[in-house]
């Protein structure tokens, strides 16, 4: 087993003296399902941004899928995100007015795949998350749980090494939330490394590994 995510003594501080993350070490193996749990302000979103290569550490080393983030240009980091990292956000970030298939297919826009192939993979991903019969539906025709499933399909359509989910159930009722968590578990069983950020200890507790955080540190 090799580490797909490796954080070594990572600190992220902002101008003005705020330190969101302090000296964090973390190693996640291929195929793990892990919860990063902590109250708001504990630094878990900062950690997600660093793991997702949307941000760079002030000091320390971040390795994703074997790549040292510090050595990569912005262009190469973008390519890394396009091919190896999938994101699911609390607020779904679906485009209004576009149907599920287009939205998921456009998630693959930056992989360089031709349009037909993108649509084929979108159909497959949507079927995989249980929305095979909702391909032509637009966001306003879908329930919250279904919208988050579309977002999950978009994140996994490109077959990423890591799926990062930031409060994926935060905007959902408990039934829809449970459904989405079950879906993430299924994806993990099929081989995807899944990292869930949550403030909900119950959700965190249902996952095989928890990384509790407080005040920018792993405790």
């Amino acid at each position: 087993m090799t580490a797909v995510i490796e954080l070594h003594r990572v600190t992220r501080s902002y101008p003005g003296g705020v330190t969101a993350l302090r000296d964090v070490d973390l190693s996640v193996e291929h195929g793990e399902l892990i919860a990063i749990v902590g109250p708001s302000g504990s630094g878990k979103s900062t950690m997600l941004n660093l793991i997702g290569t949307l941000d760079r550490p002030t000091s320390g080393r971040v390795r994703i899928d074997g790549h040292d983030v510090a050595t990569l240009t912005d262009r190469r980091l973008s390519a890394l995100r396009a091919r190896r990292i999938g994101f699911v956000f609390q607020s779904f970030h679906l485009a209004t007015g576009r149907d599920a298939r287009t939205d998921v297919a456009d998630g693959l826009l930056y992989t360089g795949l031709p349009r037909r192939e993108r649509e084929r993979r979108a159909d497959r991903a949507l079927t995989r998350v249980g929305l095979g019969d909702r391909l032509g539906h637009r966001p306003h025709q879908l329930s919250g749980g279904e919208r988050q499933r579309v977002a999950v399909a978009r994140a996994v359509a490109g077959d990423p090494a890591v799926l990062l989910a930031d409060e994926p159930t935060g905007n959902l009722d408990s039934v829809a939330g449970t459904g989405v968590m079950d879906l993430l578990r299924e994806l993990n069983m099929a081989g995807t490394t899944v990292l869930v950020i949550t403030h909900d200890h119950e959700i965190a507790g249902s996952l095989p590994r928890q990384v509790p955080m407080l005040d920018g540190r792993v405790i």
Partner: protein, 394 residues
């Protein structure tokens, strides 16, 4: 480890990306494209209309010929009206390249009335003009009706009316001149190269001398020359017509006057073109404004795209192509509208409608330039957004 070279966006994908923002807010897209459309339409219409007018003038000139020169008496050095010598016409006819020459003489102080019942003084501004038989052939005048004078009618009290004279007098069988009736035997079409004939009541040279107090002096000589020699003829006409006082002779080329008239209209065109350019500039600012707002509103989308793997360059390209598409939309609409205005206006003027290709290409080129300039700054701002910040905005 996977290769980490970002994939290039395909042209078709780029087009879809550019159109995405426009399709999601169609009304705003149409309104901001409208500014550009109005500017381009104005410029294309101005160029199209003036080109159509020039095409019409060219057609006219081709039909009329540019080889006509007219000779008229000018003024003496004391400011009095000069006269042409009696032998001016035969002298002019002797110039080698002159192929035709004919004289007319205005019969002074001879009012024309519709009937003998019209009170004296209500003359309608018409002049009695003595003409020679070869006048229509030389000035390219056509008859609207009736016949031209012939050797017989040129001796009798008969007249041919100019186009404007016929309109003013109405459909009358005869006119009343100097105490007697003169039969109207024909009416001319208007003569573009000799507009003074339009208000003339033309009478035979001999009849003018025998029935009216015509002194026999030519007041204007129309000449036609070999096309290539027109300038040379022009140089010697004054001295030939009046060898003693060549400075008392006015020589002119009526086709020059037509061209000059169009050139005067050209200054107005320049003004309208300037207005079109201002409209275009305002349209461009409108597009820039729309793009700035679009970038502000779509921070979350930008963040999402960055998380999906878009490079800064790809974000920039997306917004520039959106701006290009937006202004091109306006430009294409403007070219169509401008061409439409040209066709309609040329139709009302009976001109051949012409929209020059360079105006169309220039219009579209200008919109592309405007789109690029208007979109560049907002696009750069969009690309500079940090992904975390952009996502946090949602």
């Amino acid at each position: 480890m996977a290769s980490l070279d970002p994939a290039r966006l395909r042209p078709a994908d780029l087009l879809r990306l550019g159109g995405y923002g426009l399709r999601s807010r169609p009304l705003r897209a149409v309104l901001s494209a409208l500014g550009i459309a109005i500017g381009i339409a104005a410029m294309v219409a101005v160029v199209g209309i003036s080109t159509s007018g020039r095409a019409d003038l060219d057609e006219q000139l081709a039909a009329l010929g540019t080889n006509m020169l007219t000779v008229a008496p000018g003024r003496t050095m004391f400011g009095d009206d000069a006269t042409l010598p009696d032998d001016a016409l035969p002298m002019i006819e002797r110039i080698g390249p002159v192929t035709a020459a004919t004289a007319v003489g205005t019969v002074s102080d001879t009012p024309v009335y519709r009937t003998d019942r019209i009170p004296e003084g209500e003359t309608g501004g018409l002049a009695v003009v003595a003409a020679q038989l070869d006048l229509p052939g030389t000035v390219n005048a056509r008859l609207a009706g009736g016949t031209w004078l012939n050797a017989a009618t040129a001796r009798y009290p008969a007249v041919v009316l100019g186009a404007a004279a016929a309109r003013r007098l109405g459909d009358v069988p005869a006119v009343w001149i100097d105490g007697r009736h003169y039969s109207v035997i024909g009416v001319l079409d208007s003569v573009p190269l000799a507009p003074e004939l339009d208000t003339a009541v033309l009478i035979g040279w001999e009849a003018a001398e025998s029935h009216l107090d015509f002194d026999g002096h030519a007041t204007r000589v129309y000449t036609r020359s070999i096309e290539s020699q027109v300038e040379a003829v022009r140089g010697v006409l004054a001295a030939t017509a009046n060898p003693q006082n060549p400075d008392q002779v006015d020589v002119s080329n009526p086709s020059d006057a037509l061209i000059a008239q169009r050139a005067a209209a050209g200054t107005l065109n320049a003004l309208l073109l300037g207005l079109g350019a201002v409209a275009l500039l305002v349209g461009g600012i409108g597009v820039a404004n729309t793009m700035v707002i679009s970038v502000l509103e779509r921070r979350a989308e930008i963040g999402l795209r960055r998380s999906l793997g878009a490079t800064r360059g790809q974000i920039r390209t997306q917004f520039v192509s959106e701006s290009l598409l937006l202004s091109l939309l306006g430009g294409a609409g403007g070219v169509l509208a401008g061409a439409g205005v040209t066709v309609v206006y040329a139709g009302t003027q009976q001109w051949p409608p012409v929209v020059p290709l360079w105006a169309v290409a220039g219009g579209l080129g200008a919109t592309l330039l405007i789109g690029a300039v208007a979109g560049l700054y907002p696009a750069i701002r969009a690309a500079r957004l940090a992904p975390t910040e952009a996502l946090g905005a949602a």
